[in-house]
């Protein structure tokens, strides 16, 4: 009984937090040490606006347009040299925070390629936040974007980083 109460007490604030669009990405520090590559980005609204000022007017105009109204971007991404280096419950702990307001808009399951889920928090006719979870045997990536976001525009930015858009070559 005690355990149930403690669990509820822990989950209630996390669920309330998630309704604002923000989720807690709780990753043990030891995971970065195991990873061959890791990315840990925490940018709240203030830092986003500061960072946006240093984006180039010409080259980064589309990126600036996508991020200008955001309240935060949080990314954890880990790549490993071998399979099964991370605990799959990490992704579950993020999913558990997403209340009924959150909608799973995309699920991609592939044996050969990455498995990706995209969750969106609707705000009227637009999207108020998204969570992207990619879980592969050798990769775990969790992205939380807080604030009004155009998902199609975000996807279109893929080609802005020197990486050809997949659609153009397939």
């Amino acid at each position: 009984m005690k355990h149930i109460i403690v669990t509820i007490l822990l989950l209630v604030p996390a669920a309330a937090f998630a309704q604002s669009g923000r989720v807690t990405i709780d990753i043990p520090p030891s995971l970065a040490a195991k990873a061959s590559e890791s990315v840990d980005v925490n940018l709240d609204g203030v830092m986003l606006r500061l960072a946006s000022r240093f984006l180039s007017d010409e080259d980064d105009a589309e990126i600036r347009d996508v991020v200008r109204k955001l309240d935060g971007i949080y990314v954890r991404s880990y790549e490993f040299d071998s399979d099964g280096e991370y605990d799959r419950s990490i992704a579950d702990s993020v999913r558990r925070q997403l209340g009924p307001e959150w909608k799973r808009i995309v699920t991609v399951q592939s044996k050969m390629r990455e498995n990706t889920e995209i969750y969106a928090l609707p705000r009227g006719d637009s999207v108020g936040a998204i969570v992207v979870i990619t879980a592969e045997p050798r990769e775990l990536t969790i992205v939380n974007i807080v604030g009004p976001i155009d998902i199609d525009k975000l996807a279109s930015l893929e080609g802005n980083f020197g990486i050809p858009k997949r659609g153009k070559h397939e």
């Binding site: 991404s77 990706t116 930015l157």
Partner: protein, 88 residues
């Protein structure tokens, strides 16, 4: 001559030669110009600290910019990949 008189003569007030004050001031002026007054020292220190803090702020902002680009790159790749898979 007694000692009193000799001392009075030796210590009597003598007017300086013409232009003496000007020559002294000319020699003193360059030396004092090189030294900073306390207020100027404080201002210089404040400017140095401000420059250091400014440099730190720029460094932090540039780091945030790079993190932003990395975050957007990862997010856009994942979303674009998911969209491509759905369209297949």
């Amino acid at each position: 001559m007694n000692l009193d008189v000799e001392l009075k003569n030796a210590l009597r007030r003598v007017e300086p030669p013409p232009g003496f004050a000007d020559r002294v001031m000319r020699r003193v002026a360059p030396a004092s110009a090189g030294r900073l007054k306390p207020a100027r020292t404080l201002a210089a220190a404040a400017a140095l600290i401000a420059a250091m803090l400014g440099g730190w702020g720029v460094h932090e902002t540039l780091r945030a910019r790079n993190e932003l680009l990395v975050a957007v790159r990862i997010a856009s790749q994942k979303v674009a990949h998911a969209q491509q898979e759905i369209r297949k």
